[in-house]
């Protein structure tokens, strides 16, 4: 974020407080859900959704990504693509040495 006038900063501070409270609430939701002992696939999906929402809030507001320069979006898009690629690498182990689904 570029240096802004005091009014804009005060408005931003209010959004930081809202984000902060939301993050705390989501932390308690994710812990509470874990005590429900849902079946694993549902538990993992729900926990990942909550974590992604929390991470997006941090990135968008605390890291000012909602109002950032294009070059940073470009860097992050490339990073996101390679991040997904790395995360998908373990799925290669679904194949046995003979090249079939194992």
């Amino acid at each position: 974020m570029e240096s802004a006038n005091p009014e804009e900063i005060k408005k931003a501070v209010r959004s930081y407080v809202v984000v902060f409270v939301t993050l705390l609430c989501l932390t308690f939701v994710t812990v509470a859900v874990s005590y429900l002992k849902l079946p694993r696939p549902q538990a993992i999906t729900l926990a990942l959704i909550i974590a992604t929402v929390k991470a997006s809030l941090v990135a968008a507001f605390f890291m000012h990504l909602i109002s950032e320069k294009k070059v940073i979006y470009a860097v992050l898009s490339l990073t996101a693509a390679f991040f997904v690629l790395v995360l998908l690498l373990p799925s290669l182990t679904l194949y046995t040495n003979s090249g079939h689904l194992g």
């Binding site: 802004a4 993050l23 974590a51 507001f61 070059v71 860097v75 790395v86 373990p90 182990t93």
Partner: protein, 208 residues
Amino acid sequence: MSDTVIPYMVKPHPITGLPNGKLGIWLFLASEVMLFGALFSSYVLLRAGAPHWPPIEPGEAAKLSSELLNVPLATFNTAVLITSSITMVMAWASLQLKSLPKFRIYMGATIALALVFLVVKYFEYAHKFEVGHFPSHDNFYGIYFTMTGLHGLHIVGGIVVNTYLLTAGSKLWNTDPEHFANRVENAGLYWHFVDLVWIFLFPALYLL
């Protein structure tokens, strides 16, 4: 001040529209995403390849991660890191509002909260070691210590940089306030990233 001035340290570079430091910290964070990404990928591989996760101890019933690790302490630590993230962004906002004393309070709080996180982590680790759960115990503890250990080192790094900005580094405020605010913003970007990693580590290791 030396004779050679590095260009675009404060003013945006005409091509990127950003001061060089900010682009630099984002490129660094991109490399950090790949570093932690490789570890998350390893975690998925170890977990998917195990007949049970966490692995079952010989002669014992299957347990959940939440029964092996201390969820209340980790929840507390999650709240500590989230709080340190808002104090960090408030430290930057205080500089935008031209108040160095307020910056000092918020930056001091950020460092204090980071230390609280490390103290809690120390007690968690100490308890694991007491009962003989070292990284070599099994894949679960191996990846747990590797990921939380690397994250902990990032917390230490953040404390060092933030302490510099709070003490000797803050002299820059008197000569070049915009440059100093940029440095605080960049340190903040790193700090929020460390918080962001924990947001994924916490459910992955403790809750699922």
